[in-house]
Amino acid sequence: MAVPIVMPKQGQSVETCVIVGFSKKVGDAVALGDVIFSYETDKAAFELESECEGVLLGAFYGEGDDVACLSTVCVVGEPGEDIGPFRPDAPGGPDKGGGPATAETATDGGDGPAATAGPDRKAPPGGGGVPISPRARRLAEKAGVDYGGTVGTGPNGRIIERDIQALASAGRKATVGAAAAMAASAGSASGASYPGTGLGGRATIKDLEAAGAPGAAAEAAPGGDGDGGYAETRLSGARRIIASTMQRSLAEMAQLTLHASFDAGAVLGLRARIKAGGEAMGIGNVTLNDMVLYAVSRVLPRHGAMNSHLVGDSVRTFGKVHLGMAVDTPRGLLVPTVMDAGGLTLGMIAKAASELAAKARSGGISPDLLTGGTFTVSNLGVYGVEAFTPVINPPQVAILGVCGLTDKVRAASGGPGAAGLQTYPSMGLSLTFDHRAVDGAPAGRFLKDLCDALERFDLLLCM
């Protein structure tokens, strides 16, 4: 019997996934557990493993298609079976989500209440409390569209993706030809200068080319790896998200970074003891970063201003510490969240962090694990970085950069009799904060408390 293979729903916030590629061609035999196609959300990549056997009878979408979750992507069955009824556009077919064009309207109605819940809901740029779908909001943020005062065409006036697309093209007047080029490059021409050089300030194809829009440039500059000696790679969905988030972060916030260092003797000593004898007591590997995470989770509640989101005109201060941890993955930076880190022991934090990092690196992490952070820790210490200016993950108001170990010298302590200098292992911390939300003194106090706590890590463990 023919079995429809649907696009899985990866997490609550995911409405569509993009097909990265098919591993099977139509007509190929499919065995249990075979990968039929791979797909990605804007944050992670997955493979669809077959749960049935047969032959790939047909596929309704192709590589690069943005498919609504729970839509039928392809059908596996016996050769000769009719796949017509499974077509996304078939009348009375099993696919209640509809084709990709209507996907958003179809899935949007249901998640109305969810839009206002959860700590990671971002404020619309100038949009106030306008009802908008997450997908439309993402596009609006990406394209820099101000949708304040707009009534959408979705249920109950909710703004959905096509409304933002319409706003984007109206705000960015373009010649007919340039508009077509923009549509072909899925709106990634937003970098074109405004106003354009065309009639009435319209963007022309030349303007788009100047802005490096892929759709327009593809015609003008074929063969990126030719004479120029460079390879041109289209940004992945994940990379585009990172790009726009980082850009927005630096563009919208008043960020500055404080640098401090602490005597890492205590944490190094503890780590050595865990290494030597932890296993016997059932304690797994605990890294210096885990200890910093632990220290942050304990110190941060006393500095609520740092454990906040700045949303529009208000600051949301969180009671619990949900720690984002920056992870370097082959797909780029991902920031999974250790939820309620303040309620976890050091061992539990170490375990959670190691599991999250592994999932993020494999690409198969649920997008739900990538949201909800209230504060982020980023670690470049392994590369010998001595200080840096980490970029805040909006709408958070601060991020802690963890730097490498260096040997420092200081005047020997121990009373008037002690003389000369002594060396000690020092670790640097770089705290970037949003000066719109927090002033320098409270940020400095937090950093000092954090250094003190790390220097007395044994006492901290009592918390």
Partner: protein, 453 residues
């Protein structure tokens, strides 16, 4: 007196700039040493159109039998044609004068000479009066080129040789007219005098007439006028003018031709002399004032629009350049787009074009697909024509399908071509335009017809 803006020259570029600037609130002086309206209104675009329309009416009357209308004794009264032309010109120049006054422009009759720049303001002498202005628009236009031809000065003195301005005032129709230069002006005058009964010779130095016009269409136009009796001497060079005599070289030989009048129309040269440009250091290059897309010269605050910058020498180009110059003076950054400026030759049939020709596309290495169809496909044309030639040709960029050139020959071509300019400004494809609705039956439908296979 101190002004925000001094505009030198009263033609389309000058008067349009002055009116726009004054309406935007700039205290503006327009200095002109001739009547307002410049060449366009007084001795160019408008008066020639008046003449050519009279010729068209006369031709229609003569050929009316083909349409089932019997008209006896149709005659062209050249004196009356010239008189009507005067009325048209006078009405239009009067209109421009009123508009300038209404906008609050100070119009100063008399040549302007730039004297220098002091304290951020340009100093100039206008009709003997000292004037200061923060910005300057040079719109002094152009004059007919007088090539080195033996006896030309004398012939101009006796009236044997004339420019188009002189011809437009002349009450006589020459029995034989030799037109030196087969460009737009030469062809329009040849067309009128051909209708008016002159025996017309056109001596053209190139191997084709009508300058940069699509070569296929210029060949068709030449064939049509040869049919009407005009003789074309291509690759011919006039070497000397004597009493009622024109000597020209052709294919290595030297020939003489008797003539009553010689029209000098080999081209036009920007007017840059005697303006005092050197006093403020405005650069000239090849006899013109080079400008950037925003109409700026090399001197900050000094702009040059219209024929004087040598960019395109069309009145409608001067209009847009004037608007752009004024916008930039007002702080609105804007540039002229020269790619979609239409051009028209008001012969009968009319020739109109916009964008690349097959020749210019090849010169730029552009790969184009040419779509063309004779006007015989068109209902309106068939209803109103009797064997007149007509063609529509559209160039599509290969790969993108975008319209990069439209060229037409036939009735109403001059009125249809603005659409081509719009298509190109909007960077539309052939498919985009083929999807539009054109009124039926009109000659404009040829555009859609030509795009459909």
């Amino acid at each position: 007196m101190a002004y925000d803006l001094l505009v030198i020259g009263g033609g389309p570029g000058g008067y349009h700039a002055a009116e726009k600037a004054a309406l935007a609130g700039l205290k503006t002086m327009l200095a002109t040493d001739g009547p307002v309206g410049g060449v366009c209104l007084n001795e160019g675009c408008i008066p020639t159109k008046a003449l050519l329309y009279s010729a068209k009416v006369y031709e229609a009357a003569k050929g009316s039998a083909k349409y089932g209308v019997r008209v006896g004794g149709a005659e062209l009264d050249h004196g009356a044609v010239i008189e009507r032309k005067r009325k048209v010109v006078s009405a239009l120049t009067g209109g421009v004068t009123r508009r300038l006054r209404k906008a609050g422009v100070t119009v100063a009759q008399g040549g302007a000479v730039i004297r220098g720049k002091a304290g951020g303001a340009f100093r100039a002498e206008v009709g003997g009066e000292a004037v200061e202005a923060s910005s300057l628009i040079i719109a002094t236009g152009s004059s007919p080129i007088m090539p080195r031809i033996e006896g030309l000065d004398r012939a101009l003195g006796t009236g044997f040789a004339m420019t188009s301005s002189g011809m437009l005032e002349s009450a006589a129709v020459p029995r034989r007219l030799v037109v030196v230069g087969g460009g737009v002006i030469g062809l329009e005058m040849a067309s009128y005098y051909n209708s008016a009964g002159s025996e017309v010779f056109v001596v053209e130095a190139l191997d084709h007439i009508a300058g940069f016009t699509d070569r296929e269409i210029s060949s068709m136009l030449m064939a049509e006028y040869e049919r009407k009796g005009v003789r074309f001497l291509l690759k011919g060079t006039v070497t000397a003018l004597g009493d009622g005599m024109v000597r020209y070289g052709l294919d290595g030989g030297a020939y003489e031709l008797n003539a009553d009048t010689v029209l000098m129309s080999v081209g036009r040269r920007p007017n840059v002399a005697g303006l005092g440009l050197e006093s403020i250091g405005v650069e000239t290059k090849g006899g013109r004032i080079p400008t950037d897309g925003r109409m700026r010269t090399n001197v900050s605050g000094a702009y040059a629009v219209g024929d004087v910058n040598g960019e395109s020498m069309l009145a409608h180009t001067a209009y847009v350049e004037a608007e752009v110059a004024v916008d930039n003076i007002l702080g609105v950054r804007r540039s002229v787009r020269y790619g979609a400026i239409p051009s028209v030759i008001y012969t009968n049939p009319e020739v109109a074009g916009c964008g690349e020709t097959e020749e210019s596309a090849a010169g730029k290495g552009m790969a184009v697909e040419v779509r063309k169809k004779p006007l015989a496909y068109n209902g309106r044309y068939m209803a109103e024509s009797e064997g007149d030639p007509g063609l529509c040709k559209i160039l599509l960029e290969k790969g993108t399908g975008r319209i990069v050139g439209v060229h037409m020959m036939g009735p109403y071509a001059s009125e249809v071509i603005f659409g081509a300019s719009a298509f190109m400004e909007m960077e539309m494809t052939g498919a985009d335009v083929a999807g539009m609705v054109f009124p039926h039956p009109t000659v404009s439908e040829m555009i859609k017809e030509t795009l459909e296979r």
